[in-house]
């Protein structure tokens, strides 16, 4: 295997990651910790065979990046691990869950393998203009699971001249996170974005955001919905709500892209904000990212349950800006108490 030995060797095995890795916290086995994963990668370069246990170690990393944030040696483990997943997949080494996920996406253009129309939630297709300054990129989760959020987001953004892609495809994030090639989807989405003439793509999904921003050609500006809303909040007809909410930082907005303040700015314009026990750079992962929810649902939900322990008392809602986080936190027991930032804004605009 052609792994980046320089990056791997930067790890001094100090074990700092034991304090932070949410997967290790649940498992307790060293192979479920960042340091262990890096030792396994080193092992792979010295003859260790990528059996199911090895794949389990590498594939249970949520790529949340809290180890990167706290690594004294400056190692970026999610990057190293995603690279290893790619290499293993290219050698045909993958779990059934990885294979199923990619099969779904390649067959249907979405993570669910759902054959329905991606825009079924959009009541007035006349709002989709061929040319626009902004494109709202809904992502698979909001297109198929949280369609009300998609509708709320589009309603908001459309006021500022946003359109949507006529045949949006999965952004490619689940493929890239789990080791597959996403070029086909990237090319297709880029082609459609170019046809709209838009110079800015706005997305409400943290996974889509990080992918559009880091894995797509830099032909357009990428904004997250919280960034866009923070810029435009004064132009919206917001009425303060007598609510107290908390905010869960999605890893791919926060640690991966340093978007911490904008969602808070929007929340504070609407209601009271009470921070979680860990927040910002130190925010605990919901357990849903990196393909972990798809491949290891029980483990993923255990992490989500742990995240819910961080929720302060007496809050009306847990607000976040990522549908993957919403699903995991809801499924872990928080139910409808977890809402998207856009849904909070929609409440304040009613």
């Amino acid at each position: 295997m052609n792994l980046d030995l320089k990056a791997i060797n930067q790890c001094v095995r100090c074990g700092s990651c034991r304090t932070f890795c949410p997967v290790f916290e649940e498992s307790g086995w060293e192979s479920a910790n960042t340091r262990g994963r890096i030792m396994i990668l080193k092992g792979l370069t010295c003859g260790l065979q990528p059996d199911l246990q090895v794949l389990g170690s590498l594939n249970t990393c949520t790529t949340c990046g809290i180890c990167t944030e706290n690594c004294p040696a400056g190692v970026n483990p999610p990057e190293i691990i995603e690279n290893a997943r790619r290499q293993l997949v290219s050698l045909g080494k993958m779990t059934c869950q990885q294979a199923d996920l990619s099969r779904n996406i390649f067959a249907s253009g979405n993570t669910f393998g759902d054959g329905r129309d991606r825009l079924s939630w959009l009541t007035d297709r006349g709002l989709l203009t061929k040319k626009a300054d902004y494109v709202y990129f809904a992502g698979c989760m909001n297109s198929y699971r949280y369609t009300e959020t998609a509708a709320n987001t589009f309603a908001l953004l459309n006021r500022f001249g946003a359109t949507m892609l006529p045949a949006e495809q999965c952004c490619g994030s689940p493929l890239l996170r789990t080791g597959f090639d996403a070029r086909r989807f990237i090319d297709e989405n880029c082609r459609q974005i170019a046809n709209t003439g838009a110079k800015t793509v706005i997305t409400g999904c943290a996974g889509c955001y990080t992918t559009l921003k880091k894995s797509y050609p830099q032909d357009f500006r990428v904004l997250s919905v919280p960034e866009f809303l923070a810029e435009r909040i004064s132009e919206m007809d917001i009425k303060p709500l007598d609510l107290t909410v908390t905010y869960h930082d999605p890893c791919h907005l926060g640690r991966h892209n340093q978007i911490y303040e904008q969602p808070r700015q929007v929340i504070r314009a609407i209601c009271r904000l009470k921070e979680m026990k860990t927040s910002g750079k130190a925010a605990r992962c919901c357990g849903g990212g990196g393909g972990v929810r798809a491949g290891y649902k029980d483990l993923s939900l255990k992490m989500a349950k742990k995240r819910l322990e961080d929720v302060p008392g007496e809050v009306d809602y847990i607000v976040t800006s990522c549908p993957l986080c919403i699903r995991n936190l809801r499924d872990a027991g928080a139910g409808e108490k977890v809402i998207d930032l856009v849904d909070l804004v929609a409440m304040a605009m009613q």
């Binding site: 307790g28 910790n33 396994i40 246990q53 170690s57 040696a73």
Partner: protein, 457 residues
């Protein structure tokens, strides 16, 4: 092997692994000592550890205990294979008895978590290694570790009142009582502390705790060179002042600290001594003033830091050992020759010798450590893909160890011997003293199953 695996499952259920990947993860700590275990088990109770050791004894299987694997000498690397007992799952604080100034903990409790639990009671467990956020009490006990505040508070050994230990044949003993002092019999507690799992496996510990000081202050004194800094330290101690920490940071360390936290207000050049004083507001103000006055005539600059600024300095200092790669991403810190100690008065001489070794071998060395107790940490960093640099590194580490012994010091002040420094132990101790150690080992572990190969045993 299959039979053994079945027997292990019978003892710990699914908390056993024989998979190549898991074994690979337990092959080493942060040192360069590597040994692949045949099995990894994660016991949850003393009785499981006892049954495991009975099994090992019966089948002559090496048994190596491991905490968080943050060690720097290969103490938990199973160099003869066998079973690694990952003790980090035994992580309960069994009792906080602050009225008797003690706690009872299982070995897997993380040091920092113990201190979080003690804080509301106004107490703390003083030994504070740089790895305290992740290292376990069991590991600290096994290496008699200490840290930045050992200059005032001493090492782990000073805080252990009682240990529950599983012996090689599975018998369980207690080495002490729940009393603050005892003069009954041999001091078995002190024997097991620092024995690196070669005499028994610790399954619980009664530890003395100390009241949290009301306040702390840091004096940052910057000197033109380390020798002048060392003399200032000696003057401070001879004036009857005992700081709660007394750390030296060389130029390279200062650069790395700045990279860890660019906002740190620390000098960028020179050799800095961090003096920490703790106590009441008035006693710390007085001590900080005295230290400043003593340093003033020979220092380039002196200033006092408190509160959040002080906390930031300590946080960055704790991480500095592993952070060297931030200075040069092409190089990795290798823990070798990293923990020597000499009498305090010899620190300037040791620093000079280390510098000469580094220059002669053309290998970069960052120097920092607990100058207040004579413990110097040397961080050697190399391009690990370069064989020639590995050779130089090994040579430098050997020369540093020998320099410390020549100055009447030790090859390890707080990280332990493991396998990495085992070769030096007979020379440092003298053969007669070392043979006493061998006799003790033979008496307690006649079959040699407990962490074999470590400490030269």
């Amino acid at each position: 092997m299959t039979d053994i695996l079945q027997e292990l499952k019978g003892i710990v259920g699914d908390r056993v692994s024989a998979s190549p990947g898991e074994r690979c993860c337990y092959a080493s700590d942060a040192s360069q000592v590597v040994g692949l275990p045949d099995f990894v088990v994660r016991p949850k109770s003393t009785s499981q550890v006892s049954r495991l050791l009975r099994l090992c004894s019966e089948h002559l299987i090496p048994a190596t205990a491991r905490g968080a694997g943050t060690g720097l000498a290969g103490g938990c690397s199973p160099v003869r294979g066998g079973i690694v007992l990952d003790m980090s799952g035994m992580n309960r604080i069994l009792e906080i008895d602050y009225e008797n100034q003690q706690v009872i903990v299982e070995p897997g409790v993380v040091a920092e978590k113990l201190n979080f639990a003690l804080k509301p009671y106004g107490f703390f467990f003083p030994p504070d290694p740089g790895s305290m956020a992740m290292c376990t009490i069991g590991g600290m006990l096994s290496y008699n570790s200490s840290g930045m505040r050992s200059v005032k508070y001493g090492t782990v050994r000073n805080y252990v009142l009682d240990l529950e230990v599983v012996l090689a044949d599975g018998r369980v003993i207690h080495t002490g009582k729940k009393v603050l002092k005892s003069s009954a019999g041999y001091d078995l507690t002190r024997l097991f502390v620092g024995s690196e799992g070669t005499l028994g496996i610790i399954t619980s510990a009664g530890l003395k705790i100390a009241p949290l000081p009301r306040t702390r202050k840091i004096v940052l004194a910057c000197f033109e060179e380390a020798e002048i800094a060392g003399q200032a330290v000696i003057r401070i101690f001879s004036n009857g002042i005992t700081p709660s920490a007394c750390e030296i940071l060389d130029r390279t360390t200062l650069q790395v600290l700045k990279l860890c936290d660019p906002l740190l207000a620390i000098p960028e050049d020179g050799d800095v001594i961090l003096f920490e004083v703790d106590g009441t507001e008035s006693s710390t103000s007085e001590a900080a003033r005295q230290i400043s006055e003593i340093c003033q005539p020979t220092a380039k600059s002196v200033r006092i830091a408190v509160g959040a600024e002080m906390d930031s300095i300590w946080s960055a200092r704790r991480l500095v050992g592993a952070a060297i790669s931030r200075l040069d991403p092409t190089k990795t810190r290798i823990y070798m020759g990293e923990d020597v100690g000499v009498p305090i008065k010899e620190i300037p001489a040791l620093i000079k010798k280390v510098q000469q070794i580094a220059v002669k071998l053309d290998i970069p060395a960052m120097k920092y450590g607990h100058i207040g107790d004579g413990n110097l940490h040397v961080a050697l960093f190399i391009d690990v893909m370069n064989k020639e640099q590995w050779e130089k590194l090994r040579l430098a580490a050997d020369r540093i160890h020998r320099a410390a012994m020549d100055l009447g010091g030790t090859v390890s002040s707080e990280h332990g011997i493991g396998l990495a420094r085992a070769g030096y132990l007979p020379e440092q101790m003298g053969m007669e003293a070392f043979s006493v150690m061998q006799s003790i080992k033979k008496a307690l572990d006649p079959k040699g199953i407990l962490n074999p190969g470590k400490m030269g045993l």
